[in-house]
Structure formats: structure tokens, C-alpha cells
Symmetry: C2
Subunit: 160 residues, 2 copies
DNA sequence: GGAATAAAGTTGCTCAGTCAACTATTGCAC
DNA sequence: GTGCAATAGTTGACTGAGCAACTTTATTCC
């Protein structure tokens, strides 16, 4: 994580790509920013609403979907999780009554995850907490006039 | 994750802090950037060197320490992990012969984690992979003239 | 239309991580 | 110096995630 191993100044000419000090600083800042913001945000959400970020995200996706339901696969595309991760997450939410499952009549391979009334209500309650977190731990710490540039840099980092 | 739940345009005046579209975009980009970069980087490191990022990080910290050893607590301060997480990570590395443990003679509560020769060698081998990852998935995707600003924004996000 | 291939979803296994409880040792107060 | 609080580290129980293997159903291709 620190200097020597990343760039040895004055060492031999080197085919290995080493990191410059400012690059290293950027990298560290990137790691720290993620850890910091997500940790704080998730702590609030779990502490106050018993929802992890991933669970919250699934509820949001369902709430936004046409009939408040999504095929597992579509959910998988929206949420950063493996297929089995989705299965289990929806399981968990279902056990708590926040989602349900509905088989698709036309394609018997597919299952819809459905937002229940309780799920909708839970989402409604959790949303202010989450938004306050995003505002407080993310937006508020950024210079408003840097937001645009910052966003573009972040977007450049996401692979295709 | 998408618009309606974050800001309802034209709804009643509202004490709840909602997100503006550009703020939402920034937030999404932040999440995606993290997921993307870490996933790619870690996949390389695990695939080629059987080391997770956290394990790599611990090896680096030890390599940089004075006698290539650190108290568990100091390690804990450097690496984003719980105390027991550190214990177990060092355990795992020790089982693979990459670290050792040494009791402190003056304070019998403390244990030093020590980098072994094998650990040093493994780190040496893994470093190019990691650096290529950081360069390829992070630095290379950023505009050089934005790096400084980007770093400052990231640093602003890390809580004290 | 039948065989091969692909897609959707779940399950078993394992792993890495957390929290809370615990032991052991040291430092501090008075 | 005794007693209490703080510090260092580990352990147990549990959780959330991934991968690989598997079942079932749909699609494609000849």
C-alpha cells in the first residue's frame, strides 16, 4: 500500500509499470472513499431499517418495475450480485414478507420476484435514511462545482 | 436506484433531502466504478496469484514494516478489516506459509505477524499483476489532467 | 420432429467476514 | 499494592456471497 513497492525511484529502467506517487495517492483515495462511504451508509441502513444496501437496492428495483415485479434474471442484471446471490437475497426478503415469488405462466422456467405491500412500506420507511446517507456521506462532501467532472471520471472507470 | 424514488419532481415541498438527477448520476457512477474496478482487479489477483486484495494488502504492509513484522493491532489500523478479520486473515496466510507469528517478549498480550521468505517471494511475484491491474483498470481509464482533481474529490469522501 | 444447445433458477459446498463473548495481560488510580 | 479499566488477541456462531453442478424448460438447427 505504500511507496517502495509501488515505485522505486532511481532504480533500473523497468518494463514493469510502476505507479507514480500521485497515481498511488489516487488509488489509495479510491479505496478509502469506497470503504468509508459504503460503510457509513450501510451501517445506518442496517441499524435503522434492518436492510443491507443490496436488499434495499432489490426493493427499489422492484418498486420501479412495471407491475412491481421482475424476473430473477432481470433483477440480476440490475443488482451487482451473482445469480445464486439473487436467489438467496430474494429468499431472505421473502422470509421477511417483503417480497413474494410468482411463476411465469408463459415461460415455466422463469420466476418473478414481486414486491409485497409490506415490502413497499418498508422501502418507503427506509428511503429517507438512505437518501440522508447518500447526501451526508457523499454529496455533501463534494464541491458542487466538481460534481460533474467527478461523475465523468467515475463513469470512465466502469468497464463497458 | 432510479428516478422516481429519489426525486419526485413537482411534488409537495419537502423537508426530506431528495437527490437531483446529477447527484443521482454521480452516486450510481460511484457504485459502479467501485464494483467494476475492484472486481476486475481482484479477479486477476486471485486467478493468477491466489491472493485476495486484502491478503495482498497485508503482505505489502508487512513488507514495508521495519523488521517486516507488525503487531496485529497495527495491521488492523492499516487494513480495512475488523480485528477478528485480521486474526483470521493472518491465520490463513500462515497456513500457506506466507506469514508467521511471533510473541512479543516485552508485552505478552501482543503478537507480531511476520512476513516469511515465502511471503516475500509471493508478494514479489504478485506485485506486477496487481500494478498492471491498477494501471489498466484505474489509472489508464482516467484523463491524466483530471487525476489531481479526482483524487481530491475522493479524499474528501473519506471520513476522518 | 428430434437432438443438441441455451437459458432460468436453485442447491450444496465453501469461504471470508462480522459481532459478541471471552481470556490474558497491562496500566492506572488512589 | 490492590482493584478496576483498558488493551491485545482469539474464538464461536452466524451471515452473505461465490462457484460449480444440477434440474427443468425453451429454442435452435438440421
Amino acid at each position: 500500500m505504500t511507496e517502495q513497492l509501488y515505485s522505486r525511484p532511481g532504480s533500473r529502467p523497468d518494463r514493469r509499470p510502476r505507479l507514480q506517487p500521485n497515481e498511488l495517492r489516487a488509488w489509495k483515495a479510491f479505496l478509502n472513499a469506497q470503504a468509508s462511504v459504503l460503510r457509513e451508509l450501510e451501517a445506518d441502513l442496517v441499524g435503522q431499517e434492518r436492510l443491507t444496501l443490496a436488499e434495499y437496492d432489490v426493493l427499489v428495483q422492484l418498486a420501479l418495475a412495471p407491475r412491481q415485479e421482475l424476473r430473477m434474471t432481470d433483477l440480476w442484471e440490475q443488482v451487482r450480485l451473482s445469480r445464486s446471490g439473487i436467489t438467496r437475497l430474494v429468499d431472505r426478503l421473502a422470509r421477511r414478507g417483503l417480497t413474494g415469488r410468482r411463476p411465469c405462466p408463459t415461460d415455466r422456467r422463469v420466476t418473478y420476484a414481486v414486491l409485497t405491500a409490506a415490502g413497499r412500506e418498508r422501502l418507503r420507511r427506509a428511503t429517507p435514511t438512505h437518501l440522508q446517507g447518500v447526501r451526508g456521506y457523499f454529496i455533501a462532501r463534494l464541491e458542487p462545482d466538481q460534481l460533474e467532472r467527478f461523475t465523468r471520471s467515475l463513469e470512465a472507470l466502469a468497464s463497458r
